[in-house]
Symmetry: C2
Subunit: 366 residues, 2 copies
């Protein structure tokens, strides 16, 4: 079995990301389970495809209880979270019990958050089954749920014990979800890895055609980038904020559209193009680099423009995003492809122009 391991170096909480095709079948999870009880959290879409496989991997030694949630970002809330907690209490899970997150980003975030707050924190494993979850959300310990008025407003940092990324699970992923995952892959190139960006420019069609070697390289290189950033700044005091490139715009798009019509990856693709355009307006980024940014998202079949949302409403939603500081909107902007940074002190006109807010409009105070 061909398995690549990328370690997330967090001292005593160090953990491996294992990447390979078919590893969910071959890898036993029993070594990674401490107590005798396991809660598998998944959704109605993933359960029929992969739940049996997880049960086999968990073996006979554990009492396994499933918690199958409805599928979709709109269910990522405190109310649905309670079902996971109820399952844990009902089955008398204790501090040695383990939660397994089997699914995409929503399942990983919710299962991880339930593990973070059940009895003030119990172990959990990530088994991501979407490209987006394999390259981004399953790694780094950000967990949480949405508030009706803001994405990921409620959550915790809680690192998994292991991430098992079986690329075979992507076979059942639809094309739209695959493209949405590519948005986060491209992000690593834009913020910190120019050679990877150039490889991606040359490999977009291979990735969309799901060529196994291309997909695997994209996942591995994304995980290496993410692991390095998380190891350097676990709690997002500093460098980790770069991973939010396009996200302040993207979260506002998701909130404005009710988490329904736009996938997260689509929203941040548009958001990264918006960030690139603001960067160009501020003379931070060259026109050529802005064009290459838009072009790669276009080639990946992702949006480069936001949906029609009133500019002042967008601004209001962005101010409410948790990356705001003292009511000002901090943005991750680009100096070049492969070089992003957090900017707080910029001419507001560049942002207002991007949002289509007319010059003398009354801008709401933070």
């Amino acid at each position: 079995m061909n398995v690549t391991t990328v370690d997330v170096e967090l001292g005593s909480r160090r953990y491996p990301i294992r990447i390979g095709r078919g590893i969910l079948t071959a890898d036993s999870l029993t070594d990674r389970i401490q107590g005798d009880r396991v809660i598998v959290v998944t959704n109605e879409t993933v359960a029929p495809l992969w739940l049996d496989r997880i049960h086999s991997a968990l073996g006979q030694g554990s009492r396994v209880h499933d918690c199958v949630l409805p599928d979709g970002e709109r269910f990522k809330n405190l109310e649905v979270l309670q079902r996971i907690l109820d399952t844990a209490v009902d089955n008398r899970c204790d501090r040695q019990s383990t939660v397994v997150a089997l699914g995409g980003g929503v399942i990983g975030d919710m299962a991880g958050f339930a593990a973070a707050i059940y009895q003030r924190g119990i172990p959990f494993l990530q088994v991501p089954t979407t490209l987006l979850a394999q390259v981004d959300s399953s790694v780094g310990g950000k967990t949480g749920v949405n508030h009706p008025r803001g994405k990921n407003m409620i959550g915790a940092f809680h690192q998994p014990r292991c991430v098992i990324a079986d690329t075979a699970t992507l076979d059942t992923l639809d094309d739209r979800q695959l493209r949405a995952g590519l948005a986060e892959v491209i992000k690593y190139g834009l913020i910190a890895d120019r050679p990877f960006f150039e490889w991606l420019e040359a490999s977009v069609s291979a990735l969309l055609a799901r060529e196994p070697a291309a997909l695997r390289h994209a996942i591995e290189q994304s995980c290496r980038n993410k692991a390095a950033i998380v190891a350097a700044d676990e709690y997002e005091q500093d460098r980790r904020a770069l991973l939010n490139l396009g996200h302040t715009f993207g979260h506002a798009i998701e909130t404005a559209t009710g988490y329904e019509s736009w996938l997260h990856g689509e929203a941040i693709a548009a958001g990264m193009c918006m960030a690139a355009r603001v960067s160009e307006r501020l003379d931070m980024l060259t026109t050529d680099a802005r064009r290459r940014t838009e072009a790669i998202f276009g080639a990946a079949g992702l949006p480069t423009e936001p949906p029609p949302i009133d500019g002042e409403r967008m601004l209001g939603l962005m101010t409410g995003d948790k990356k705001a500081r003292h009511g000002r909107i901090r943005l991750v902007l680009m100096d070049a492809i492969g070089a992003a940074r957090v900017v707080e002190d910029y001419a507001p006109k560049a942002l207002e122009d991007e949002l289509g807010i007319p010059p003398n409009a009354e801008v709401p105070a933070g």
Copy 2:
């Protein structure tokens, strides 16, 4: 102003407990607030007494929003917690905003938990207004809410930036609440501080009469004990578990009685006497020490026996308590006054006898 400071030594998260009479009036809280927004969480009982004082202490520099919750342990749940989170979102609090917990243990636990999970963690201050909160729950970073089937089942470790214990707030505390707080004070003597226990034996009547010097010494010495244990073992891997003396019994009593008729301090007083009797049955504790344990709680006007609850039901509730490991009930027991330890491997008969379970009864599996 006569202020004592006890530091909780947690490296970069080190914080002071400030103890004194009238310090809430004299101390300005403005130095302890980072951003420009503050949410004060309190309850309907405390608000009319102390909310104005907090507003004065916070000064003019901050936008202060109040969140006044109903009073009582039965409101310590996820549903009521949402009101705090809603207040934070509605007022666009960001990661630099501060939550102030003004009240007893329930308010401190809930406000602290809301601060722990709002945007994955924002700063909070503890301003405890009950004896129990001043000597125990406000110190050490345990936060959380109850689940319908278990106390503190959902929560997080999240340390406050500061604890302000103004002994003047105890003037408005009723006698029953004062006695309940003494249960936690006595606990420190029992688990780790025999000289303090002996001082308490001699000082119970002064404490019940609210003599300021006695109360203040009791609070200071309790905080010193708690701070030392928390600094040694923040996440309860080891020594911190001793602070749960009487709590596995006590939580079962509280759950069985619906968090209504018994105060937490009353439940753990009975629980500590039960732990002492089990310890005696196991020949760990002398009869004299067990009698002194019962006598001090009796002198403080606290229960030494649990309410009538079926023994097997008690056992079931204790197994569900989060201190159970692999379905076994870990107990904190006593070798002597001032010397408690965690025991997992003990003759179950000693516990069954204490709970009144007849010899050959079917004991439910974990």
